[in-house]
Amino acid sequence: MNSMRTVCFYFQVHQPYRVKRYRVFDIGNDPEYFNDRGETNLNNRRIVEKVAQKSYIPATRMILYLLRAHPEFRVSFSFSGIVLEQLERWAPEALDLFKQVVDTGRAEVLGETYYHSLAFFYSRGEFERQVAKHRELVRRIFGVWPRVFRNTELSYRNDLAHWAEGSGYAGILAEGWDPILGWRSPNYLYRPQGTERIKLLLKNYKLSDDIAFRFSSRSWSEWPLTAEKFGQWLSSSGGDTINLFMDYETFGEHQWEDTGIFKFLERLPSEVFKNPELCFRTPSEVIALHDVKDHVDMQHVVTWADTDRDLTAWVGNPMQEAAINQIYALEDAVLEKNDPKLLEDWRRLQTSDHFYYMCTKWFQDGDVHAYFSPYESPYDAYIAYMNALSDLRLRLGK
């Protein structure tokens, strides 16, 4: 057996096309749902430019610097197709930095759905078309071919692994959720129930969330989190691999620069290299290096969201269910119409964020800002979405 323990970074890069404040009076009059040009957080261009400045550009410069400074440093990214599109149009500098990172050959790009959708659970055909479209875009921009798959919001179920194995992926990512793992550690590779070759990489959510969520929390007993301290935690963690999966916006957007997050990132590799048994690896390298320890059986959907780790943040109330069922109910009519703009709008409306904005489970007293939404309330999000959907239906002649 190999005695090296790997640290595997995967960063999620995604921005949706938010639906503007689309009113009932716009139905039948305005076929543009995503073109808010105001000073609001529904202005997609404005947000992409802001996030690029605050997060993508400085963070990717840092990653590039680290890759050059440390030949043994590795990272991996998963980009939604629609964030890549938006970066191409509105923040080409950020996209260029990402390309430079991938060009080092030490940054892996993962496969996902183009529209960051939950299509796998609603339409297998549409899901496969979106994955193929994403693969094409990744090939065009980065010149690479994804070998490891991660589904939207890290959503995962046995049948997703079956599909991924059948589609030739070497690995797949999921949440390392204790109630399912039981006594097993997320720090090993596993074999999904009912598969033969594909390997499952599980997120170590405790260590990942120390960076992504708790880093700047002054009420946390471990605050302030230094690279040295975190390096020691990695060093003392058992298992074969420590998988640190998080949103890329952690760097500079969720954790602002003044929290010291970039300094932390800058110093972390040196701290890790202090332990000669630790090394950084990409998901594909981790898969090549380690054997699986056991089978893991996930019959129900597991995601990386909040304390429930299921899909209830996206389809947990009657509004969300109505919205997602109605968008997928239009599939046949949309495909039949064979109108590229209509197809594109229908697909953009599948992005998981739309349903997340309609979530009411945290929308309680004093907790309104506990999650991020550009809408005044989940109800406003739903109304704008359903009005746009009504217009889409009108365009379909339904």
């Binding site: 009113r23 009932v24 009076f25 109330n317 009657p318 509004m319 969300q320 269910e321 109505a322 919205a323 009411t360 929308f363 309680q364 007293d365 309104v368 005044e376 309330s377 989940p378 109800y379 406003d380 739903y382 109304i383 359903m386 009005n387 009504s390």
Partner: protein, 400 residues
């Protein structure tokens, strides 16, 4: 505790608030003497009721309480829609004030508590005679009643201001109202405490089965949008009708019900005809008790388009019964609840957009209903009484 109305003899939120608050305070161990200006068949086992027009209470002279007589045009309606307090409201207010000292002297109390301007005079006299601290509870201001600074009655304003200045503490039903108190009445912000109104089983309208007409209309495929409140400028009935007109252009199967009486009732009937929507608007006149309950239950949506609403207890009633709610942002209750739709009262387009969504999109009213009733259940009078208890405690402490 000086009040003005108490269920079943009440015209609106003030009486319901007095019921909910006195009950919850008594549960905390308070012994309450509730004073009303006039003998009415009201009662509650948790408070002793005293009426200022009883023969043993003599009206006495009021000092430094300048106020003109006979100019009042406000009427307080009772359960049957008939006026309880006459057209000469100021006369009643002055008479009430003059008895405050005498009543307070007879009742052994630690704190004097007065609800709204109508009782402030009596509260001030009582506090002066006994030397006990005074707390005034502001359920509405003259600014709300007039829908802004235009046409406020300077005498009412003066009574409100004087009561709040003399009081040891002022309780406002919302941050919205506190802002008005600080901005328009010049009261120090530190002295004004916000206690949101609550709702519980005792203050809910009771169920009944009298409104078969509404149920019939609903069965025939109409969605019912309800306005329930005094038909007066402050409550925005004219905006309700303008929204109705816009909605009708998009969806003719929506029926608008205007429930309540008030000085703009006849005007609103004419306005509905002018807008060409007389066939889509039902005027029910004043409703209370079980009819109120049925109105809420029959409605697909309750709308409170108030121009200026200190709180808006009807919103909690509708939520508690599981009726989806659309309220104006110019209301105190909008700062206390999340699971409702909100719009600016003047934004007719936005309100129309939201009403049509509730009527047209599956899942919206169900989600609002489920989450709304759960949220309203947490907004109890016990919670409000707890805050009032703390305020009273602090007032008593600072007097020692």
């Amino acid at each position: 505790m000086f009040g003005w109305e108490f269920p079943p003899h009440h015209s609106g939120g003030l009486g319901i608030a007095c019921l909910g608050l006195t009950r919850a305070l008594s549960a905390l161990g308070y012994q309450l003497v509730f004073v009303m200006p006039k003998k009415l068949p009201v009662g509650a086992q948790w408070a002793k009721f005293v009426f200022a027009d009883m023969p043993e209470v003599k009206a006495i002279g009021v000092h430094s309480f300048a106020m003109p007589y006979g100019t009042g045009t406000r009427v307080v309606y009772g359960q049957d829609g008939a006026p309880v307090y006459g057209w000469n409201l100021y006369g009643e207010v002055v008479r009430y004030a003059s008895t405050g000292a005498q009543i307070a002297a007879r009742e052994d109390c630690d704190v004097i508590y007065a609800h709204d301007w109508l009782s402030f005079g009596a509260g001030i006299e009582a506090a002066r005679a006994t030397g006990k601290p005074l707390i005034v509870h502001v359920h509405a201001t003259e600014y709300d009643r007039c829908g802004g600074p235009w046409g406020i009655n300077p005498d009412v304003y003066a009574i409100e201001k004087r009561g709040m200045e003399i009081a040891d503490a002022v309780i406002a039903v919302s941050e919205y109202t506190k802002n008005i108190i600080v901005r328009e009445y010049g009261i120090r912000a530190e002295k004004v405490h916000v206690v949101h109104n609550g709702i519980d089983a005792a203050t809910m309208p009771q169920a009944g089965t009298t409104l078969s007409r509404l149920r019939e209309l609903k069965r025939s495929g109409y969605a019912i949008v309800l306005f329930l409140g005094r038909v007066t400028l402050q409550k925005g009935p004219d905006y309700f009708l303008r929204v109705a007109q816009r909605v009708r252009q998009k969806n003719p199967k929506v029926l608008f019900v205007m429930s309540g009486s008030g000085d703009m009732e006849a005007q609103m009937m004419r306005y509905a005809a002018q807008l060409g929507i007389a066939d889509k608007v039902l005027f029910t006149g004043f409703v209370s008790g079980s009819e109120r309950h049925e109105m809420y239950v029959a409605a697909n949506l309750f709308v409170m388009p108030s121009v200026s609403e200190p709180f808006g207890i009807t919103t909690l009633e509708a939520m508690r019964l599981g009726t989806p709610v659309l309220i104006s942002k110019q209301s105190g209750v909008s700062e206390a609840v999340n699971h409702v739709l909100k719009a600016d009262f003047w934004d007719v387009e936005d309100m129309t957009n939201k009403i049509l969504a509730v009527v047209g999109y599956a899942g919206l009213s169900e989600t609002l209903s489920q989450n709304g009733s759960r949220e309203a259940e947490g907004l109890t009078w016990d919670r409000a009484a707890q805050k009032v208890d703390n305020i009273i405690e602090n007032v008593l402490k600072s007097r020692v």
